[in-house]
Symmetry: C2
Subunit: 244 residues, 2 copies
């Protein structure tokens, strides 16, 4: 399992297809992830067709991987299937609410990440698309998702055609808290972010964007408050429209 | 990676401790999971102390694993650390909203599941506690989580002291949709749930609970509409109180 430590996100893929048997095998592994009450409150939409990928691309801000990867997998919270089963069995489902949106998201993401670990172990490369929750409504429309089904993440999959550098991570002490949450101090923040801030590519981002600090590259350019608030409203509305 | 397919949740643990070096190694692997913008919007609270586990137990409805597992890991969405860094660097963070609650949850759950895969590969057993979102406010209080930190899942960890049967899963065709979502029909629902409904333990659940169908065991006993609506309100309030 050294691959867990040496992994990196892959955005460029060879044209070679992913065999259907391998895909099925990886999805079987994904479905072995823990799931609340063994309810499996998720569905996976597998997109291979070029026209369908093109229809999904705008929702992902036309990031090229959506059209160049042989496989695009949209992992969806799904309380629809379970609710249908209940209704067919003289049972009244109560899963159209916020708790099950979040519980379903947990289920779905454990399956998604298990898929990715298995895929990387099989020599494939993957890339998560965070844009899934930005433009959920477009994805719902493109994939014809019914009520109580909601796209929570998307993964592009294929055989790697690049070997990018592994990105930095914060030191473990930034992430792990013993027994309870120990709040950060100005000194600890300085220490924990020092390595990241000193990286040549990050110094370049600051310079190229005419910013004073790396943090400003995030707040002013990559993930602005205005965008986040816009996407929050859209996400909330899409969630409500899907019946949660 | 056959362990992904043969895994099962472990609820009974040997008293043997998990070495700190092994735990550190597993957490390093977890932090290699994909993360939005390399922001690592999560924290992990590691509970080993018996008194602290006892304080967490009621939030998890006193499921015994919380006190009998050598390790309890609470995986938290964390936009606090990143926001602190921004504020210390003349940058104005805009991460106190619903979009970042969901984006943070994605980040956190990919790390949590990577931890679990690595832990199982190392011979440990894990159990996810879905109760984390039911009683989030109690966990927030017990772990002293500041604003913009939110517990999304909990994992108990230890060396297995049981070898339970592997539970059933729905057939893959229940989960996977080619190109777009193909809605279920009454016939397909019957077919996809037939195996689960015919399992001896499920027939026993129906009988013991004086129910007509297995679905009623879920809707009337395990996960009722009234409970779900109660937990939805509590989750929403806790999320708002934490500043999202």
């Amino acid at each position: 399992m050294n691959s867990l430590k040496t992994r990196r996100t892959i955005r460029r893929y060879r044209s070679e297809d992913v065999p259907a048997t391998l895909l099925g095998d990886l999805l079987e592994s994904a479905c072995r992830a823990s799931t609340v009450g063994n309810m499996q409150t998720y569905s996976v939409v597998v997109t291979r067709d070029a026209a369908r990928k093109a229809a999904l691309a705008p929702a992902h801000f036309n990031q090229p991987m959506v059209q160049t990867a042989p496989l695009v997998l949209t992992f969806c919270i799904d309380l629809h299937r379970f609710s249908l089963w209940c209704e067919q069995r003289k049972a009244t489902p109560g899963y159209n609410n916020f708790e099950w949106f979040v519980t379903g998201a947990v289920d779905t993401l454990l399956a998604a990440q298990t898929f990715c670990v298995a895929a990387e172990e099989a020599g494939l490369g993957i890339c998560y698309l965070g844009t899934t929750t930005y433009n959920a409504q477009q994805i719902i429309d493109a994939l014809k998702l019914p009520e109580l089904v909601f796209p929570i993440t998307t993964i592009t999959v294929g055989y790697p055609d690049e070997t990018p550098e592994q990105p930095d991570r914060l030191p473990l002490e930034a992430i792990v808290h013993d027994e309870y949450y120990h709040d950060y101090t100005p000194d600890s923040i300085n220490r924990l972010y020092a390595f990241k801030e000193a990286l040549p590519e990050n110094l370049r981002f600051v310079r190229e964007n005419n910013k004073e600090t790396l943090a400003q590259v995030f707040t002013d350019i990559r993930y602005t408050k205005a965008d986040s608030e816009h996407f929050s409203r859209a996400l909330w509305e899409a969630m409500k429209k899907q019946g949660f």
